[in-house]
């Protein structure tokens, strides 16, 4: 596999505030990678540094074996930014031609028109008269104007309806099959989950997780064992924590909610075994698997509320 993008310990500081804090990753050719995280997690700043729009305060960014500020590198990438600005006074068709003139190996005009999905009438309309969705479709075609090897999309589907969204991802998958590398940012978990081969999870300027959607889900989702004590009077929370702390190596978290004791741990099987073997006098034991979106929300909101949705026993 060839590395297309390489970030090493990248830091970006704005007025003493670290927007991106020591991020490193490598993106390989032909993959679709999602940068997932809430607003302000540092996704757009990281993207801007990959595009050479911002300079990293520390660390290095390597794009296609060179600097993103290099013209010959820019000739090989395509970009769609969050705010899709369309130059006023120019028609869609004229913009496509203008962008094609910027690149040394432009894509075929008809291909771009097909890719935009815009009708001939829409293409004859000037940018500022288009709807938000149409502008985005045009932005997609403009990103493809140079027949790029690497594509960057910043929040590409915001404001798109379901059909347009599906169409967009279908095209993106085709592009990846052709060997192009796609990197997109999103704050929609489902989108990252269903469309990406790999998720880079950002939170507060840091890369907090990096893996396939399944791996990310496993680290994000909390499993827990909960039960009701038969006798009251003792501090069950403390007692359970003490017992499990003695018998188990991995870390567990014990909380109490409405008389129910909840043990959150990665290995719920071991917790269950310990609880039963200890013969504590407990009943109504349940195993809960948290939901991915809840976990994501918790992570990104920085709170650690209990996992309250039950999916399986």
């Amino acid at each position: 596999m060839t590395a297309v993008i390489e970030l090493k310990n990248v830091v970006k500081t704005f007025k003493n505030k670290k927007a991106v804090d020591g991020v490193s990753f490598t993106i390989e050719k032909g993959t679709i990678t999602a940068m997932l995280g809430p607003n302000g997690a540092g996704k757009t700043t990281t993207l801007s540094m990959m595009l050479g729009l911002l300079q990293p305060s520390e660390g290095s960014v390597n794009l296609l074996g060179g600097s993103p500020e290099d013209r010959s590198i820019r000739d090989r990438i395509g970009v769609m930014l969050q705010e899709v600005a369309v130059m006023d006074g120019l028609k869609g068709r004229e913009l496509i031609d203008l962008f094609r003139s910027y690149y040394s190996r432009p894509a075929d005009r008809e291909d771009l028109i097909r890719l935009s999905g815009l009708s001939p009438a829409d293409l004859n309309r000037s940018g500022q008269k288009m709807s938000g969705g149409q502008r985005r479709s045009l932005g997609f075609a403009l990103a493809m104007a140079g027949n790029p090897e690497v594509l960057f999309f910043d929040e590409p589907t915001v404001g798109l309806d379901t059909t347009a969204r599906r169409r967009f991802w279908e095209e993106v998958r085709k592009l990846a099959k052709q060997g192009r590398t796609v990197l997109f940012s999103t704050h929609y978990l489902e989108e990252a989950d269903s469309e990406a081969d790999r998720i880079l999870l950002f939170d507060q300027g840091k890369l907090v997780a990096d893996g396939t959607p399944d791996e990310i889900k496993r680290t994000l989702v909390k499993r827990s064992v909960s039960f009701l004590p038969e006798a009251t009077g003792t501090d069950w929370q403390k007692r359970t924590a003490g017992l499990l702390g003695m018998r188990m190596e991995a870390e567990v978290e014990v909380t109490e909610s409405g008389g129910r004791i909840i043990v959150t741990a990665e290995d719920t099987d071991a917790v269950l075994r310990t609880l039963i073997e200890s013969n504590l006098g407990i009943r109504d034991i349940r195993i809960d698997v948290g939901r991915l979106d809840t976990a994501f929300e918790q992570l990104t909101q920085g709170t650690h509320a209990q996992v309250d949705t039950q999916e399986a026993i």
Binding site: G52, E83, M87, L90, S101, F152
Partner: protein, 245 residues
């Protein structure tokens, strides 16, 4: 070369499709010219001379307006709407982009001058020698550089609304107090005293001198050069400050 041409063509199309440009840079000056040389010209001592003089005023007014308003506002819009950022991710060199903007502006200024001069000839049969037409046109194009630089300075502003307001005030103020709208001589003395030092008066004065058979004064040339340098230095400083963040 091809990208320079494509980009210049795009820039020209954009300006020509802008209704404000057509109104302020072509329709207004011609309308003013018609009104002040055909209808309200009662007590002009030498009508022929006035018709040539005011034709120069209107051509200067048109080109100055395009440079200050269209050029400056466009820069602010492109930045606030994120267009400049998009272009920075493409291989289009920044220098080609800037050059195409200037080139487009130059061609359109020429167009304005030709249209306005022609309308002067059609409306009043203004008669100048070929050398005078050529020199006057050349002066109005070349001496508009300080106004382009002023447009560039306005282009550093953060908000479109602020830039719009300020450029409007500057444009009107410069046009009126520089004697481009009404004869400079009928202005109050205080305005004249200040006006003599404004770039707009010296810009117009050069063209008036050419139309009257003379040539621009050295003082006008020096003052305009001075303004050009000041505007460029200030906008260069403002740009650097913005980029530092």
């Amino acid at each position: 070369m091809k990208s320079l041409w494509m980009q210049s063509r795009a820039e020209m199309l954009r300006i020509l499709r802008n209704p404000y440009f057509v109104f302020w840079s072509l329709a207004m000056p011609i309308l003013f010219y018609f009104i002040f040389t055909r209808i309200l010209n009662g007590n002009m001592p030498d009508l022929k001379e006035w018709q040539a003089h005011y034709l120069m005023s209107m051509a200067a007014f048109s080109v100055m307006g395009t440079s200050v308003m269209t050029f400056g506002l466009r820069l602010v819009q492109e930045r606030t709407q994120g267009w400049s950022t998009v272009l920075r991710t493409t291989p289009l060199p920044g220098a080609v982009y800037a050059a195409s903007k200037m080139f487009a502006q130059l061609l359109l200024n020429l167009l304005c001058i030709i249209v306005i001069f022609t309308s002067g000839w059609l409306i009043n049969g203004v008669h100048l020698s070929a050398a005078q037409w050529l020199m006057a046109g050349l002066w109005i194009v070349v001496a508009s550089l300080p106004f382009l630089a002023l447009g560039g300075l306005i282009g550093c502003m953060k908000k479109v609304d602020t830039a719009n307001g300020i450029s409007n005030v500057l444009y009107m103020g410069l046009a009126i107090s520089g004697g481009l709208w009404m004869p400079f001589e009928i202005m109050p003395e205080a305005v004249q005293r200040v006006g003599k030092w404004l770039p707009s008066y010296n810009y117009g004065d050069g063209a008036w001198s050419i139309a009257a058979g003379g040539s621009p004064s050295a003082l006008s040339v020096l003052l305009l050069l001075g303004y050009l340098v000041v505007f460029m230095v200030v906008s260069g400083y403002a740009r650097k400050k913005q980029e530092a963040v």
